[in-house]
Symmetry: C2
Subunit: 172 residues, 2 copies
């Protein structure tokens, strides 16, 4: 009831009670604010979008290289979107693209030293923003509780096919 968006005329929005609406809107608003701050930081300190940051981070986490398809997973929702972003990163010398040795259709993306260096430059400030915005009002215990709640939700979302296939007719 504390959120102004929870009283949208229909107090019960077909299956969601007020408490669930509160949860949903709190989640969306918090992440929206966090994402906005984080994107400002990344842009200011590394001239990176959040998507580009994610791509570099994934590559670094994957021992340096991934195929385009692997790289796209969860970050981008269209092939061409990734081609565009990877192109930008390549232009700046942060990654390299080369035909995969095992599958000639595939392209292997590799993070460069410059890419790793930029990631290193950007990470401290990134962590600082997250710390100040997300964790300032969250005890370590609460942070763990939050992760424990979100992990299964995220995993479920990952494995749930997009709703686009089921346009869901519901006209009154």
């Amino acid at each position: 009831m504390s959120d102004p968006q929870s009283g949208t005329g229909a107090d019960d929005a077909a299956g969601l009670d007020a408490a669930e609406l509160d949860t949903y809107f709190a989640l969306m608003e918090a992440v929206s604010l966090l994402q906005h701050s984080v994107e400002q930081q990344l842009r200011a300190e590394g001239d990176l979008s959040y998507v580009q940051f994610q791509l570099l981070a994934r590559l670094a986490a994957a021992r340096g290289q991934l195929t385009m398809t692997e790289l796209a997973d969860g970050v981008v929702y269209s092939r061409s979107g990734l081609t565009y972003q990877a192109g930008l990163l390549e232009k700046r010398g942060l990654v390299t693209r080369a035909t995969s040795p095992d599958d000639e259709r595939g392209v292997t993306v590799t993070i460069t030293d410059a890419g790793r260096a930029l990631l290193g430059t950007v990470l401290p400030g990134h962590a600082e923003v997250i710390d100040q915005l997300l964790f300032e009002r969250l005890s370590h215990k609460d942070a763990k509780a939050l992760a424990a709640l979100l992990a299964p939700v995220r995993d479920h979302m990952r494995s749930t096919p997009p709703r686009s296939a089921t346009p869901r007719r519901r006209r009154t």
Copy 2:
């Protein structure tokens, strides 16, 4: 440790431990997936972007009218962005704009019957997506716990000034 992004080379990203990174990435990924699905639903069933949906929902929650500045709060990060979105809504007859009676500089935005009707059309499907993606793997108890964790975080974020003012020099 379950998230591939948590091992970005530097296991401890200057102030954030691995558990906190997990929490952060889980939060961002879950909301990214949720937002994507939700936007597809809104676009398919009401030809609305999430921002436009928020604007209509806020107006409905506010007894029908708000000033542009009030409406912008938390939804949009620039004045012109709101003017653009409000213009689209007005073109479709979902809202009305008129000079505020008390302050001639201000513009009062009012949701129309068509706007309320569209909101009513879109809400059931919206709730369904949220239910299936967010609450399917969350007990009512856990949903409340999540809200309890997020509410103070959101409130803190709302009241924290954007980091843009402090460009945060950190060059090595």
